[in-house]
């Protein structure tokens, strides 16, 4: 049950993030949308690795080998994904700051210098 709830929560967060990305003209809030989108994906990923009744894959004694653990792989992937997400967010924000300094606005539809 926990897994399913998490999966649905993740999907909802992805959709909410998508909604934010597609409807906010403000670049900062679009970026917020992206970070929610990311969080949603992370939750989905973890729900995939969840094993009902499993414990965290930290084996303090070698004698504990063989107990039920949750899948460590998705956790490792999420760990990576979170850090990548941070990198991308920082990156986008730097761009946003520089765009603001050049143009004095943060509305996405004002940045149409290049088209067609």
């Amino acid at each position: 049950m926990t897994g399913t709830i998490a999966l649905i929560t993740g999907i909802l967060l992805v959709l909410i993030g998508l909604w934010g990305i597609l409807t906010n003209r403000d670049i900062i809030r679009m970026i917020v949308g992206f970070s929610l989108f990311d969080v949603g994906i992370h939750i989905i990923m973890l729900s995939i690795g969840y094993v009902a009744g499993g414990t965290a894959p930290i084996i303090e004694n070698l004698s504990d080998i063989g107990k039920s653990y949750v899948d460590p792989v998705p956790q490792a992937l999420v760990l990576t994904a979170i850090v990548i997400g941070l990198g991308i967010t920082a990156f986008m924000l730097t761009y946003a700051v520089n765009m603001y300094e050049k143009k004095g606005t943060l509305e996405i539809d004002k940045f149409e210098e290049l088209k067609w």
Binding site: T2, L13, V32, S35, I82
Partner: protein, 81 residues
């Protein structure tokens, strides 16, 4: 029982995320997104993923929010200057 707590926190997460997208105020939006990240990290903890929970709390929710604020501050200061 844990399922119910889990469900409640999941609801909190979704609500915080929704609020982040619906509010008009940038700052509030960034803060609610951070809150959503924090709730998510509780979910992670409950899903037996302490490593991820810690990362999400420190990076996904904490540092990201900081960076948002620094960026906002810089934007504000360049508007004033």
């Amino acid at each position: 029982m844990t399922d119910i707590i889990f469900l409640i926190i999941a609801l909190f997460t979704v609500t915080a995320a929704l609020y982040a997208m619906l509010t008009k105020d940038r700052t509030v939006s960034v803060l609610s997104a951070g809150a959503a990240g924090l709730f998510a990290s509780i979910l992670f903890l409950m899903m037996a993923a302490p490593d991820v929970a810690m990362t999400e709390a420190a990076i996904g929710s904490g540092l990201t929010t900081f960076i948002f604020f620094f960026a906002l501050r810089k934007i504000r200061s360049s508007r004033n200057g």
